[in-house]
């Protein structure tokens, strides 16, 4: 539309030749709704609802996965996730302290570690861990699949958490360390008792998000080759759906993930909002 007609349209004194902006907006909205309705009608008319229901919402098949979906698969997913998180937390904290060390080689080692493990796909890490026995025949990680899963998830999340912790430690006001040191606390004691507890509070939201990421990434444990007792959600859903030649279990698995990830995401946002308000 030309600038001239637009000007005319917005000028109420002139007799209108084009449409007013408000009218145009209304027409555009009507069109959008119309498109939506057409798509819905077409979907309803064309889709084979019976087939969809039997495939994706087949309660018989879903029922066969119970209670193992929760007692085995979810349980293992939670174990893999938490063990990876704990390892990542501890290693990440150490890496963050190294990153902030006054000893340069510590800083370098930490920086290199962080760059490497943030730059690699988690899948590749699991492939590497799975191939360790090829490189060192007879070699086995302590804890078997559980140990390998914790290692894979831990070494990668450590790199991310290290960056979170570093930012958190740097966000604690300098006066806190000075106050602690002025009371005679050695540097390490001041870090452990005064700085790190405050830093952890600050990084609680990103750590919660990190937990969500780990929960999803724990699905990669299937690369390691797991027994029926070690199966986690994704592989469980996949196995069940092959067994019954029906995709419902995969959908059920997805819902189970969401059961945890959505509340966790909510918690993270709440924590974030509370910190924002506290400033």
């Amino acid at each position: 539309m030309s600038a001239v007609s637009e000007q005319q349209a917005t000028s109420p004194a002139e007799p209108r030749k084009g449409l007013s902006p408000r009218k145009k907006q209304r027409i555009s909205r009507v069109i959008q709704y119309a498109v939506l309705v057409v798509i819905l009608v077409v979907l309803v008319a064309l889709a084979d609802w019976k087939a969809i229901g039997e495939s994706f919402f087949n309660l018989d098949v879903a029922g066969k996965g119970l209670p193992e979906l929760f007692t085995v698969a979810l349980r293992n997913t939670v174990i893999y996730t938490l063990s990876g998180f704990v390892l990542g937390f501890v290693v990440g904290l150490v890496l963050a302290l190294m990153r902030l060390s006054s000893v340069a080689p510590y800083r370098w080692v930490s920086a290199i570690y962080i760059e490497i493990f943030r730059g690699l796909p988690m899948l590749l890490i699991f492939l590497m861990i799975g191939s360790l026995p090829l490189a060192f025949p007879g070699f086995e990680l302590p804890g078997g699949v559980y140990g390998s899963a914790a290692l894979g998830l831990g070494v990668v999340s450590a790199a991310y958490m290290a960056e979170n912790f570093r930012a958190g430690i740097q966000a604690v006001p300098k006066g806190q360390l000075e106050a602690a040191r002025s009371l005679g606390m050695p540097h390490m004691r001041a870090m452990v008792s005064i700085i790190i507890p405050q830093a952890i509070r600050i990084v609680l939201p990103p750590l919660t998000n990190q937990l969500v990421t780990l929960l999803k990434d724990s699905s990669l444990v299937l690369i390691l080759g797991v027994t029926a007792a070690q199966v986690e959600l994704a592989k469980f859903g996949n196995d069940e759906s092959s067994t019954y030649a029906n995709p419902t279990p995969i959908l059920a698995t997805g819902l189970t993930y969401l059961l945890i990830t959505i509340p966790l995401g909510y918690v993270a946002r709440r924590l974030e909002a509370r910190q924002g308000a506290g400033r």
């Binding site: 006001p173 006066g175 806190q176 000075e178 106050a179 602690a180 040191r181 002025s182 009371l183 005679g184 606390m185 050695p186 004691r189 008792s193 005064i194 507890p197 405050q198 509070r201």
Partner: protein, 246 residues
């Protein structure tokens, strides 16, 4: 005996020389107030006394221990030097009680019961025993500063350093903090106080030190330095502080 003995103290930040040869002593039981314009190096001097800043050269002797000696255990030395900051620097994630007990417990290795007793005694002294289970952000600035004083006192310091302890406070809260400091002085505590509170300096200080440009310009009893300054720079500074806007 002198508690603090500073000789030819220099401190530079990069090429900026902030302290340019400071000599002075604080006798045991004395209260010395340090005054001077912004940027004259008052905080830096104070922070050199407990080695929060590493002096570039010169010696700082506290209680007979030369803190600039590289072999000295600085953590051990700091236990006996209390410090109160302009911004209070209470530990916000810990209760008032924990703020006052944590260093006693971790540094002095006192028993839990002993820590608690000392905490109560010192909170009593600053008039805040009823806030013992509160968290610092729940307290007013004046209350936080008094807790900070109690926290320092709980370590049984032989010297207390104050860096503009009332500068961050609303005017109506200044009095409570100064009253605590006055009481402390009466009880014989050795104190080195950076302050703009001329009334406090005049009434409480045994000596007033005027600093400008990284050197001590004038050092003497308050009735001399404040009431009858010998140097033009001191007079000029006092004119501005005592009659702002004139």
């Amino acid at each position: 005996m002198s508690t603090v003995e500073i000789k030819n103290l220099h401190k530079s930040f990069g090429s900026l020389e902030v302290l340019r040869g400071i000599d002075f002593t604080v006798e045991s039981g004395q209260v010395v107030c340090v005054i001077g314009p912004s940027g004259s190096g008052k905080s830096t001097l104070l922070r050199c006394v407990n080695l929060l800043e590493q002096p570039t050269s010169g010696t700082v002797v506290v209680d007979g221990v030369d803190l600039t000696d590289p072999d000295v255990d600085i953590d051990a030395a700091r236990r006996h030097i209390g410090m109160v900051f302009q911004q209070f620097n209470l530990f916000p994630h810990l209760t008032v009680r924990r703020n006052v007990t944590i260093a006693q417990e971790r540094v002095l290795k006192r028993s839990k019961g002993e820590c608690d007793r000392v905490a109560r005694e010192n909170l009593e002294k600053v008039g805040l025993i009823e806030k013992i289970d509160a968290y610092p952000p729940q307290l007013s600035g004046g209350q936080q500063q008094r807790v900070a004083i109690a926290r320092a006192l709980a370590m049984n310091p032989s010297l207390m350093l104050f860096d503009e302890p009332t500068s961050a406070l609303d005017p109506e809260l200044v009095g409570d903090v100064l009253a605590v400091m006055r009481k402390l002085a009466e009880d014989g505590m050795t104190m080195l106080v950076v302050t703009h509170e001329m009334g406090f300096a005049r009434e409480v200080a045994d000596r007033v030190v005027f600093m400008d440009g990284g050197v001590i310009v004038e050092d003497g009893p308050p009735e001399q330095v404040i009431a009858d300054p010998q140097h033009e720079r001191t007079r000029e500074f006092l004119r501005r502080v005592l009659h702002p806007g004139v």
